[in-house]
């Protein structure tokens, strides 16, 4: 059987709230104040961006120094098609920049008219973002720098790093990192068939060719035997509550009054219980063995809930294997 596989957009989006260590806190707060801090390692190197622990010895490192807002490109790559979230929305160069006074390089974007205007060894300086909050994006990007020196105004090309106590007013102690990824979700062959049947108000599982169990919903494989399932079997619509719980906390974006009952339901002919909400009966009268049937709302592609059929309760022996 060939049917069009279902597909739907899926956006996974969440903010990560992250706390900062003392070195990260000083660095990001410094960016807010247009000050770039590095950290000294035991062997006297200055790391920018600074880290909490020495990348070689893993020692805790805390000695902060101020480096220049100017530096040298150590490598670059021309990005003609910026992607969502990247520092600039016009074509730009990704660059690693060794700031004057630092021994390591910082990754960021370089605003330039084209790849011919960029080369390794070119001098650049920070372009600060107009609004700064204590984040790596407080550096809007780098731009070409034509001054001879290191930008510290003393006219010499070298940069003497100065110790810094890392203290600023109202230190930034955490960041909120937004993450968003877009997918086109497809549930695969078995679940597509299941979902399409549901829209026609039929519940269709798949039988394992080896142990003969019927899985609802089917996932395309028998988890016991590790073999593919293909034979479709219509089950239900009646079923038995095998176990249940009473939900007392309202879920966000869910328009269901609490308390309500969420149950495992063994549909007639199925060898695996699925779960669904029980309606049409007070929550405190739901019980194991209760006979139920699905209720589709007008235009609904899947059962909204299950309600009692009025049949006598099922005998425990008939569903104990499905608990």
């Amino acid at each position: 059987m060939t049917t069009e596989v279902l597909k739907a957009p899926l956006v996974v989006e969440f903010p990560f709230t992250r706390s900062l260590g003392p070195v990260q806190s000083a660095f990001l707060t410094g960016l807010r104040e247009q000050v770039v801090l590095g950290v000294r390692t035991a062997d006297g190197r200055t790391l920018v961006p600074p880290v909490e622990y020495d990348p070689v010895t893993a020692d805790e490192i805390r000695d902060l120094v101020e480096v220049a807002p100017t530096g040298t490109v150590t490598t670059w790559a021309w990005n003609h098609a910026p992607r969502r979230g990247q520092p600039l929305d016009t074509p730009f160069a990704w660059v690693l920049v060794r700031l004057d006074g630092a021994d390591t390089a910082l990754l960021h974007a370089l605003d330039a008219p084209g790849p011919d205007a960029v080369h390794t060894g070119m001098r650049v300086r920070i372009r600060w973002a107009a609004e700064r909050s204590g984040a790596i994006t407080d550096i809007a990007c780098f731009e070409r720098y034509d001054g001879d020196g290191d930008g510290d105004g003393d006219g010499d090309g070298g940069h003497e790093v100065a110790d810094h106590d890392g203290q600023f007013e109202s230190m930034v102690t955490g960041i909120v990192a937004q993450a968003r990824l877009d997918y086109s979700y497809s549930p695969g062959r078995a679940q597509t068939a299941y979902i399409n049947a549901l829209a026609e108000r039929r519940i269709v599982g798949e039988r394992c060719p080896s142990c003969r169990k019927v899985y609802v919903p089917p996932r395309g494989a028998c988890p016991t035997c590790g073999v593919g399932t293909a034979e479709q079997v219509q089950v239900g619509p009646g079923g038995t509550v095998t176990t249940y719980c009473i939900v007392n906390i309202k879920a966000r974006n869910l328009d269901i009054e609490v308390p309500y009952v969420y149950a495992h339901i063994a549909l007639d002919g199925a060898d695996l219980a699925l779960h669904g909400r029980i309606g049409g009966i007070p929550y405190d009268q739901v019980r194991m063995g209760l006979r139920v049937e699905p209720v589709w709302t007008e235009g609904g592609r899947y059962p909204d809930h299950y309600r009692p059929t009025g049949e006598p309760d099922a005998d425990y022996e008939t569903y104990k294997e499905l608990l």
């Binding site: 979230g85 990704w94 877009d182 695969g188």
Partner: protein, 352 residues
């Protein structure tokens, strides 16, 4: 005393741009059946199962538990999972076999990149404070490395194009590969890398069976003995690393014994052409070594499986008698951040 452990079977899917008609378990299961069939083993005969995958690729939470449906994990099996390429799952299985607890292990991994945008997905593995907020995609980071190699005279754009062409030409004999034969080198994606310098994006799965000692000899005519395997990682910050070199690869190779005797074949996990240049240098591979006869990751790069496939391809050549001593390499993270090296050998062949 160290136990002798070998790769005794390998199987992989045909790697394709999309496999949307299949769920992950539907994609994986045929490979599991194939690798078991090659040895005559059943799930219940396997002592330890270890897998590698990442939920971020397809945006499916706990996909590795659903993938277990394809194994048949009842009665309960001894099982583990790494959120890494399957090569690292193989490393865990190898250590498990070393303990003597069991004689056989099943290792599998899979990746479905087609539902998402893998260039963006991979940004989520970067330093969340200083790097991830800039969303530097995987091609951009590889391009920074490629530029450094060109600037320091290790390669140039025509040489990179030649790596791409050789890989896809070699892949003509690999029916599983996604890109085979003559493939246009195309426009810049992120300069200096062109489309042809980048791996194809696709879906796929692979599986390997490991066995110890005499059990390996029973299951396979010519086992691919793992003479050494090691993995090493470098600092996560790109600006701290020497991008034109791979000290972690070299150290892993040294620990795995790769430099004790020459290898005849190397399967390198170099998703970008420029990374093959770095790896050849770090591994001191001469022109007499056959590199990526399968076409490598430039011909098929199912993320989370492509490293395991390198070990599988190297082992399969030994099984077939086409190699006597092969090196397999797997990588993880941006710009070859973390590297695994395995040295595989077949026993001397005697005239029939």
């Amino acid at each position: 005393m160290t136990r002798e452990i070998a790769v005794v079977a390998f199987a992989q899917t045909d790697h394709r741009r999309t496999s949307e008609e299949l769920s992950e378990v539907e994609m994986l299961m045929p490979v599991l059946h194939e690798v078991l069939d090659r040895t005559g083993l059943k799930t219940s005969d396997i002592g330890f199962t270890c897998s590698g995958s990442s939920d971020y690729l397809a945006g499916r939470a706990f996909s590795f538990t659903l993938a277990l449906d394809g194994v048949g994990a009842w009665p309960p099996i001894s099982e583990s999972h790494v959120e890494m390429d399957g090569a690292w799952a193989l490393y865990e299985a190898w250590t498990k076999l070393l303990t003597g607890d069991t004689d056989t292990a099943l290792v599998y991994s899979y990746g479905k990149s087609s539902p998402g945008s893998v260039r963006d997905v991979l940004t989520r593995q970067l330093d969340p404070y200083y790097v991830a907020p800039l969303w530097p995609d995987s091609v951009a980071l590889a391009a920074l490395q490629a530029r450094a190699l060109i600037d320091e005279g290790y390669t140039d754009e025509p040489a990179l194009a030649a790596v791409a062409a050789r890989s896809r030409t070699d892949a003509r004999t690999n029916s599983h590969a996604q890109l085979r034969g003559s493939v246009p080198h195309g426009e810049y994606v992120v300069q200096p890398l062109r489309i042809g310098d980048c791996p194809p994006v696709g879906d796929g799965a692979a599986a390997v069976i490991l066995a110890a000692g005499d059990r390996a000899r029973e299951l396979c005519e010519r086992p691919a003995w793992i003479r050494g395997i090691d993995h090493r990682i470098e600092a996560h910050s790109l600006g701290v690393r020497e991008l034109t070199d791979s000290p972690s690869t070299r150290l892993a190779a040294e620990k795995a014994g790769a430099f004790e005797r020459p290898v005849d074949t190397a399967e390198l996990h170099a998703p970008f052409t420029s990374q093959e240049v770095v790896l050849r240098k770090a591994l001191r591979l001469g022109d007499d070594v056959l590199v990526n006869p399968s076409g490598g990751a430039l011909a098929a790069n199912p993320i989370m499986a492509a490293g395991l496939i390198r070990i599988g391809e190297a082992a399969a050549r030994i099984h077939r008698g086409e190699s006597d001593r092969a090196l397999a390499h797997a990588t993880s993270g941006p710009c070859l951040q973390q590297n695994l090296v395995a040295v595989l050998e077949g026993e001397p062949r005697h005239a029939q």
